[in-house]
């Protein structure tokens, strides 16, 4: 695939990607950051407009093309947020919240900790709703401030 760049004074820059199988994908990057995209069957055809993107949208799409959008969980995820680290809490049979729904545990209002996901067997219940039951053997993925974790330890009796 060949990509050529053209400066367009007063407008911005244009990139034309020519595919070996025929057809050209054209991206016009405007000076204000907007991107317009076009497609044409061959170099001599008129271009058909495809879609328009803002700069942040284009960056996310670029990550998808790049293969870097779905970042694997890394070692340092716990420190992803400076003031609100992510923790993994194992629930054993003695835990006061085992067998209760998230709503019943009142964890969020009592402690300030939010449950992002629940690891159960080899599945992940992401973004669980308030009626989701917490079971023995679950691992709660939670986020909160240090103070919230102190409260959580008190509630869980740890």
């Amino acid at each position: 695939m060949k990509i050529s760049e053209t400066e367009l004074p007063g407008v911005g820059r244009r990139y034309t990607a020519s595919f070996p199988g025929g057809g050209q994908f054209v991206v016009v990057i405007h000076n204000d950051g907007r991107r317009r995209t076009y497609w044409r069957g061959s170099a001599d055809d008129d271009s058909e407009p495809l879609f328009e993107l803002t700069e942040p949208q284009a960056e996310r799409l670029a990550e998808v093309f790049d293969g870097s959008y779905f970042t694997p969980v890394s070692e340092d995820l716990e420190d992803a947020f400076d003031d609100a680290p992510i923790r993994w809490i194992d629930i054993d049979g003695n835990s006061p919240v085992a067998g209760a729904s998230i709503r019943e545990t009142r964890l969020r209002s009592e402690t300030g900790v939010s449950i992002l996901a629940i690891r159960r067997d080899d599945r992940t219940v992401s973004n669980p709703d308030p009626d989701t039951e917490i079971r023995t053997g679950d691992t709660l993925v939670v986020v909160g401030t240090e103070e919230a974790y102190d409260e959580l330890d008190r509630v869980l009796g740890r």
Partner: protein, 400 residues
């Protein structure tokens, strides 16, 4: 009668511009003629409706500063976006395309000026006014029509850049020659001072890029914006002092910044200011235009619009073919190059202030306003119908 404060007046004007601009975009036209018309409609010679005059401003005084900044920023951006590298990389094609466009259009305007009975200096200014295609209108139409993705857009914008450079050069020389007084030594001194300023500015623009690069390497957005606007206004103001058009000075400052690493940041941060101030500039142009002069020059305007538009269609077509485009795309080039706009009006505004003859002070500026109104609308219509025009042209043209 309500007593209008400056703030209230500004509010009415900006709102009227916004409404007029929105209407203009709705019917697929450029905003420039709309802004000018608003200026004419609320200016000193405004019409009366049911006995109540629409006149909001007797003169441009309260808006002058914003309009002046508009001129500076318009030309600053022309310089900033010059991208000569690309022209040099394809110099053979652009030289041929540019020669076809310039060789036909520029002499045509000059001959037209002489035919109208102007002196050679007046005719030379008129030639520049009817020569320069509007980057603002063309760039917008190219995006609207989707041509921006196709091959003709770089030919069109390349030719526009060539026109801008030549117009800036011609304008610089002519504005320097435009000095009052009959005393030869004063004239020579004044011309010499102006040329010295231009040469110094050129040298600074050429050699000063790395200094600008370092000086403007600041994190603070507001200090950056203030600094860039400050340098632009300072140099342009200094230019006016020594008889150089502020527009030409701003253009050179723009080229200097275009050679630094800050060009993209300036684009992002200052383009909105340019759009605001430029709108006020077009408004003030309308405000300064006496509708009676506009009517008086109507004949000249129509004659010039017909002659130069036909000339531009031919020269633009020739430029497209010289660039290596096919028949249909060359017709698009011809149509795209027909609208006139900001640069012509900048020259007119300069002449209102600095003109040395009645023709330069009144006739040519009024002519320019009418001419821009006609060609900007006509040009946009021609662009939208370019493919139909191409299909109807005799086939032998396409094999020429």
């Amino acid at each position: 009668m309500v007593e209008f404060t400056v703030l209230l007046t500004a509010g009415v004007v900006l709102s009227a511009l916004a409404v007029a601009g929105a209407l203009s975009l709705r019917i697929g036209q450029s905003v420039i003629p709309a802004y000018i018309l608003v200026g004419i409609l609320v200016g000193p010679a405004a019409p009366s409706i049911a006995g109540v005059s629409l006149t909001l401003l007797e003169g441009p005084e309260t808006m002058r500063l914003l309009a002046d900044l508009g001129v500076v920023l318009l030309l600053f951006f022309v310089g900033l976006e010059l991208s000569l590298d690309q022209l040099f990389a394809n110099r053979v094609r652009f030289l041929r395309a540019g020669a076809a466009d310039v060789g036909i259009s520029l002499p045509l305007g000059f001959v037209l000026g002489l035919a109208f009975g102007f002196t050679w200096l007046e005719a030379a200014f008129l030639a520049l006014v009817v020569f320069n295609s509007s980057t603002v209108i063309i760039a917008k139409s190219l995006v609207d029509l989707g041509w921006i993705a196709d091959r003709e857009s770089q030919a069109i914008l390349g030719v526009v850049v060539i026109e801008d450079v030549l117009t800036a050069l011609g304008f610089a020389v002519l504005s320097v020659l435009l000095v009052g007084g009959n005393d030869v030594s004063t004239v020579v001194g004044s011309v010499g001072r102006s040329f010295a300023f231009l040469l110094a500015l050129l040298a600074a623009a050429y050699y000063g890029a790395s200094l600008l690069d370092r000086t403007f390497d600041v994190d603070s957005t507001e200090l950056f914006v203030l600094g860039v606007l400050g340098v632009g206004a300072l140099v342009s103001g200094a230019g006016l002092l020594v008889g150089v058009s502020e527009a030409v000075a701003a253009f050179l400052v723009g080229t200097a910044f275009g050679r630094t690493g800050h060009a993209a940041r300036i684009q992002r941060l200052i383009a909105p200011s340019r759009d605001l101030f430029a709108a006020v500039f077009f408004f003030v142009i309308g405000l300064q235009t006496d509708p009676r002069l506009l009517t008086a020059t109507l004949g000249l305007v129509l004659a010039a619009a017909v002659v130069t538009t036909v000339g531009q269609l031919v020269s633009g077509y020739a430029a497209g073919r010289a660039y290596g485009l096919d028949h249909g795309r060359s017709v698009r080039v011809g149509c795209a190059l027909t609208p006139r706009g900001e640069f012509s009006l900048v020259i007119a505004a300069f002449l209102v202030a600095a003109g040395t003859t009645p023709a330069l002070r009144e006739t040519i500026p009024a002519f320019t306003v009418g001419y821009v109104l006609v060609t900007s609308v006509l040009g946009t219509v021609l662009m939208r119908n370019a493919d139909r025009i191409a299909a109807r042209l005799p086939v032998q043209l396409s094999t020429a």
